[in-house]
Amino acid sequence: MVGEIKIEHVKKTFTNPDGSEVIALNDVNLDVEPGSFISLIGPSGCGKTTLLRAIAGLDLASEGAIYLDGNQVTEPGYERGYAFQQATLFQWLNIKQNIAFGLKARGVYKKEKDEVDRFIKLVGLEGFEKSYPHQLSGGMCQRASLARALVGHPKVLLLDEPLGALDAFTRMKMQDEILNIWKEHKMTMVMVTHDVDEAVYMSDKIVVMSARPAKVEKVIDIDLSRPRLRGQDAFLKYRTEILEILDFAGHVQEAEYFI
């Protein structure tokens, strides 16, 4: 099994234009087991995106290091797929070309052509292969963007509030779709969310982060069988527990969680 992430003493500071420094992450330590599904949850602006981008190699840690299967992360790579909060589909490519982009860039498209079609089906976009992103709804774009990140079989999929822009109904449907893909491919999933229900519904582990500068406040194992029921007692107990920690961790922040 591959896809083990080790985050060791990661610190990240940003320099503002006026020269002042912002500490976004301060001594973050975390081990993610291969093939597990973890969620990052924490007050807004605490550094969740920063951590995810550091794992992706889009921004490098100022101190400390991140390892994927023992190799230090120094630059972005396709083995760490990333689904952005906005779908960021390439507007000038149709849906099929978007999904095939990574395979073409790596020169393996000829070999893996069928994968593109399979993922288009998997995310339910058959018949829209030739459409351009502006012709699709937000949910469809988000699905295309997931397919694009998944088609290269990354060892890790990093998801930054992937469903944040969707309505409640589409959101629940997409949660199940993501779980299905995960079940089939067993890559490691790291998802940022601000929706506690979503985190409990989907994750093996929930990492609760404190307000800035972010540290890991608590790691909670979600010991529920799948598929999970949102109404069951144990589910609600986890939810309450997390909300309490968040309330404590983010007491300076305004509450902005979906309850």
């Binding site: 630059e75 390439f90 507007q91």
Partner: protein, 316 residues
């Protein structure tokens, strides 16, 4: 029923123009043409339009399109008709500068060979200048857009050189190049180079960084990101540059031809003006309008093809 009437409008308009032109004699102040060339022109228009009408009964899509255009064409002919009345029939304006339309259209028959020579020569100049300018402009723009060092050293240079009207180089350029033909190509290339460089580099610099980030997490290396993300994302900007560049290339073409060349439509205009042959000036202007419209139409067709993803009307 209403559609049939709309379809008939251009025919009525042409008919009216022919009728008035035949019935009212030209003003005696106007020098006359050998033959009623304006009538010939209208008859050719009528013939072409009747072909269009016939085709519209075969192809439904063409018919729909024709109906949207018919009132405009009828209006255009009506305008010609009014001009004809004002210039040729009643000589309301000085006849030296406003000749009768028969004589304007006569030029296309008498100067046919020379005009054709001029069109070819102008096209050759325009094509070479445009291609050199666009090619170099694109390369410079991409270089400046992606490379910080190049941007630091080259963009101030382009910002100083670029805004100078290209034809103002002519005193220098005409003595540096052995032929005025090459000098003209150089000036047209300069006119095209600047807008394309500017819009390409600014287009690339304004591409959302998230596109590049998405591409890099998908495994695209730097060169691939430049070609497959930066340039296509900047295409709408680049086309704006191409449009400005093409318009400025027309200005430069005509001015360059007026300054030094011994052929081309600019030279023709200058020459007939100096001989006070205003009917030929109008004919030259009509040809020039034709060239510019043709080139711009070509450019917009190209844009529609390349930027299909921008339009909201693609069918699948």
């Amino acid at each position: 029923m209403k559609k049939h009437i709309i379809r008939l409008l251009p025919i009525l308009s042409i008919g009216l123009a022919v009728l008035l032109h035949n019935e009212i004699p030209n003003s005696t102040l106007q020098p006359q043409a050998e033959k009623p060339y304006f009538t010939y022109f209208l008859e050719i228009l009528l013939g072409l339009y009747i072909i269009c009408v016939v085709v519209s009964y075969v192809s439904k899509a063409f018919g729909e399109w024709l109906i949207t255009k018919a009132p405009l064409w009828a209006g255009a002919v009506l305008l010609l008709n009014i001009i004809n009345l004002a210039f040729s029939k009643y000589a309301m304006l000085p006849v030296l500068y406003f000749p009768c339309l028969d004589r304007v259209f006569e030029v296309f028959v008498t100067d046919y060979k020379l005009l054709w020579e001029c069109i070819r020569s102008s096209f050759r100049l325009l094509a070479w200048g445009w291609l050199w300018g666009a090619g170099l402009g694109f390369i410079t723009g991409v270089g400046i857009g992606f490379n910080k060092k190049l941007s630091y050293w080259v963009s101030p240079f382009t910002k100083v050189i670029g805004p100078i009207p290209p034809t103002s180089w002519s005193p220098l350029v005409l003595s540096l190049f052995t032929t005025s033909y090459h000098a003209a190509i150089f000036m047209i290339a300069l006119a095209v180079w600047f807008p394309i460089t500017l819009m390409t580099s600014s287009g690339i610099q304004n591409v959302q960084n998230s596109y590049f980030e998405a591409a890099s997490t998908l495994g695209a290396k730097k060169y691939y990101r430049i070609v497959h993300v930066g340039i296509p994302a900047a295409m709408p900007h680049i086309f704006l540059g191409v449009f400005y560049a093409t318009c400025s290339s027309f200005v430069t073409l005509v001015t360059a031809e007026m300054l030094g060349c011994k052929s081309g439509i600019g030279w023709y205009l200058n020459w007939v003006k100096s001989m006070m042959l205003y009917s030929k000036v109008y004919a030259g202007l009509i040809v020039l309008a034709g060239i510019c419209t043709f080139v711009l139409t070509l450019i917009f067709k190209m844009k529609d093809k390349i930027l299909v993803w921008q339009k909201g009307m693609i069918k699948w």
